[in-house]
Symmetry: C2
């Protein structure tokens, strides 16, 4: 067991005893076997001394127990790290930023407080998973749609606090942005509610975000100012109809006008998640191995020493009659309006030479059980599942069998020109760093999960046995963060291993933002009890420069 | 001249001299005549010792000048109060929370940094008004629509920082919520940027709100953690078509299903601002005096000692064939989709007995100049003007000629049942407080300016000559805030005169939220330089209980 820095065994054991008194002995975990379950399954430091590991875990069932735990932690100066379902794989899992922190596992706090399908919101505890919430909605026959990320085992609350994202309509995809009101245990153990939740007896917890005065909610996401114990979310009412349609364009540079039109449609709220893709992306193609195998020209391009250019890819695509880019547009609403919006989209896109249009899926809602199983992209309909996640995670479609991945997700402005520049910069940088040309190239499509934001994603594959490989991944990742930042592209999210590096790229005026966040942290959590290091914010006690 | 508490004349004069050195003598205002212009024209303490008045004003032209001013203020411990256009009448105007504060008038910082109609955003300085921004958009023939409040002379930046609201589609109406990235001068004079604005060279200032880590922007709105000098906003691209349609229902309780359906339409993004109204509202009727005059039955009801009930109003309405409630629905988008959405709305509303539907305005966009002048409700089309404001402000349609008004704006959940309860509670309370029954009654419609939030508005009319009346208004206002809070309804916004009272209604756990905000304030602004008291947050130096 690795104790937190500066905490004696005696104090630590005394704290564990007090924790047992609060939650009951079975809910305090200190054996290596139990605590091992809270390791980051995809840690880029697996089994190395630097691996970020907790010392113990405690699982409260109520808010009062969380408060008591925080107070005991304060008394013995033991850093805590709260998780909701802890399934944040690829972004750190359930492991803390500081080795020796005690995990506060909130999985037992799994109450759905309210789901309202007249004002279209929910209020949930941290341990409620997307699967749980979906079941609740189905069981109660409520007419609201969830917005969910790829893996359904996560928690709406935890995902939002990690700035997680989804697939449905507009602002609902921004999970933090669609939250409304919080209950938080502060570092001193006090309970605070924000927005309308701060008004005793108010029924508008999840109607109005701000209430009155300074809006403090932002301090509790991707950060460490408290442990959130309840959170409200705006939800989308179930529409009458869902339609998805594919728009395909043949040329590499057709992505520029394609994005312009899609932005126009999206910012008016005519479409949901626009799912950009390239038919040339090896990640996509590997899911259809029969298409790749035997195509020596394509395989040669993928393994070309150096970087195959967009021109080469385009030439190949045109020779085979393959369209370079496509985007799946989704429409939610009354059936007639959905089809009118699709007709309008076609009209606005008609100017792109040789553009092709294809209707993919069209469903009246609600879906019956048989249809649910047939749906290509269930998350677009708010149906939680694990299918995309399980393709990505450790499966054979990834280059080299890997034990896990960490994501680099750089924020780009929503423009084709900027995407093309990113192709050039990332392809070259990754080539220079010795990364396989199948990972990122002129075929990498932007992800618009977060409303109005392009994320340029690159996976890095880590190992549980090959430490040299992990060392290389860490080095590559950090270098890419730095190269991207030079072009104004920085990450929207990252695991504890890289949070300091990422936070420091938001560097305007000698990291004024980080210094401001840190000054706030020192005021609210002088002993650094809550998640030291999370979001790049280190309390004075653990700050290297303090 | 009233100096700020605890500041000597000598220090004050030295600061003014330094301010003159920074901005030039003509931009430092200390004469009573000049400083008088920064009084709140609608102060409920007009000409009384308690009136909140500044000591002086300084008008910087650049961010560097703002920084220098803040540093000088810190040196002499002089509280500052920044305004953008200062036109926030009804909510405090340009006057500070603490008498003797120096106004930092940002009107000269009037640069439109960027308006982008491919990614649909703008970045502006504080002194840019809605009129300015509109002119810029027109001059550059940009295809974006602004979301604006009633008076066009305000500032997008200032309005957003006051949690101001507008009239177009969905989330754009929430002006703070639609902001994206800030530049702020902190209380120590340092410059900070947030979100993507914190990334040197990034082009995504106004694409992505969060960047990475704790999101601190909320601390700068309705609050006092810094002076915001630049701000990005998401904008709506100009749609192809605008349609507005009126839905009328005859019965008082028809508001319940009406609201349920409108919520459903809105949360799917099918409609813009739903403008609820009652044909029985005296405020509305006074704009059509010919309808009221001579209708003795109606006038008797308005002046009825006690409170006329909803039943009485409904009986009157039915006897005259007047519909009790109506809502103007607005649709933005492709013409065919707009009409399909309207057809769908009619279908969903058809279940309300005797519901009536009427198409009001239908325009292809962009509008030509002649059509712009004809439009009934220009703000719904993003055209800034002063017409609604000038009706409300000091005009003859108000009960008793008044010199101004202060608004009570209580947040209600979006439900008809809750609105009915609010009618009962507010009507009774206002009757008990001796307020005219024409101000609020069972005819008061909810305002849904802020996406997903009902605001229940009540104006209070103040005088420049009748101090007894103002005293009564202040007493009534505070009592109503307290009565409303008992029912879970609290204010979304208020002027400095009432900010402490309102902030304290967010009282969960012994005002944990306000205590948290105050602790942050003390850490960031230990000398209480920036807008002490704003948003109910008093720095230690000025705190009565400190």
């Amino acid at each position: 067991m690795k104790l937190p820095e500066g905490v004696s065994s005696k104090d630590f054991n005394a704290a564990m005893d007090e924790f047992r008194g609060i939650v009951g002995a079975p809910w305090v975990f200190t054996s290596d076997e139990d605590v091992g379950l809270y390791r980051d399954a995809y840690s880029p430091w697996w089994d190395e001394p630097e691996e970020l590991v907790p010392s113990a875990a405690v699982a409260p069932a109520t808010v009062e127990e969380v408060q008591a735990i925080v107070r005991v932690a304060g008394k013995y100066k033991i850093p805590l790290f709260a998780i909701s379902t802890g399934k944040n794989l690829g972004y750190g899992g359930s492991a803390p930023n500081l080795t020796g922190s005690v995990i506060v596992d909130l999985k037992r706090m799994d109450k759905v407080i309210e789901v309202n399908d007249k004002r279209n919101f929910c209020i949930v505890e941290p341990g409620v998973s997307y699967f749980d919430l979906y079941k609740y909605i189905q069981d109660h026959k409520l007419k609201v749609m969830m917005d969910i990320p790829d893996p359904g085992w996560g928690s709406p609350l935890g995902n939002a606090l990690d700035h997680g994202v989804g697939y449905t309509w507009n602002a609902y995809r921004d999970h933090y942005g669609s939250h409304c009101g919080m209950e938080v245990v502060l570092p001193n153990g006090e309970l605070m509610r924000t927005g309308m939740a701060a008004v005793p007896g108010a029924k508008s917890w999840a109607d109005n975000k701000y209430g009155y005065g300074a809006h403090v909610d932002g301090l509790f996401a991707q950060s460490n100012f408290g442990i959130v114990t309840k959170m409200g979310f705006w939800m989308m009412p179930e529409p009458e109809h869902f339609l998805s349609c594919r728009v395909s364009v043949p040329g590499y540079r057709d992505i520029v006008p394609l994005i312009d039109v899609v932005n126009y449609l999206e910012d008016q709220g005519l479409i949901g998640f626009p799912r950009y893709a390239s038919s040339l992306d090896p990640m996509t193609l590997m899911m259809e191995p029969e298409r790749v195998q035997g195509d020596k020209e394509l395989l040669a391009m993928y393994s070309k020493p150096g970087v195959a250019t967009a021109e080469e890819y385009e030439k190949y695509a045109r020779s085979r009659g393959i369209d370079y880019w496509n985007v799946l547009l989704t429409f939610y609403g009354p059936k007639d309006a959905v089809y009118a919006n699709w007709a309008y989209a076609k009209k606005k896109l008609a100017g792109i030479k040789d553009v092709k249009f294809e209707e993919v899926e069209s469903y009246a809602l609600p879906l019956d059980e048989a249809t649910k199983q047939k749906v290509h992209h269930q998350v677009a309909l708010g149906i939680p599942n694990m299918s995309i996640f399980s393709i990505g995670a450790r499966s054979k479609v990834m280059p080299d069998p890997a034990d896990g991945h960490v994501w680099l997700g750089s924020i780009l402005p929503r423009s084709g020109e900027e995407l093309i520049k990113a192709h050039e910069v990332f392809s070259q940088a990754m080539h220079d760093l010795g990364i396989s040309p199948v990972v990122v190239g002129p075929f990498t499509a932007p992800q618009e999960w977060n409303h109005r934001t392009f994320i340029f994603m690159a996976p890095f594959f880590v190992s549980r046995s090959d430490k040299a490989r992990n060392a290389k991944v860490r080095e590559q990742y950090v270098k890419l963060v730095e190269i991207a930042a030079k072009h104004g592209w920085t990450e929207y999210r990252t695991g504890p291993a890289f949070q300091d590096v990422v936070a420091k790229t938001y560097s305007f005026n000698n990291n004024a933002l980080l210094r401001f966040q840190t000054a706030l942290k020192d005021a609210i959590d002088p002993d650094g009890i809550i998640a030291p290091g999370r979001g790049g914010i280190w309390p004075k006690r653990f700050r290297r420069d303090a």
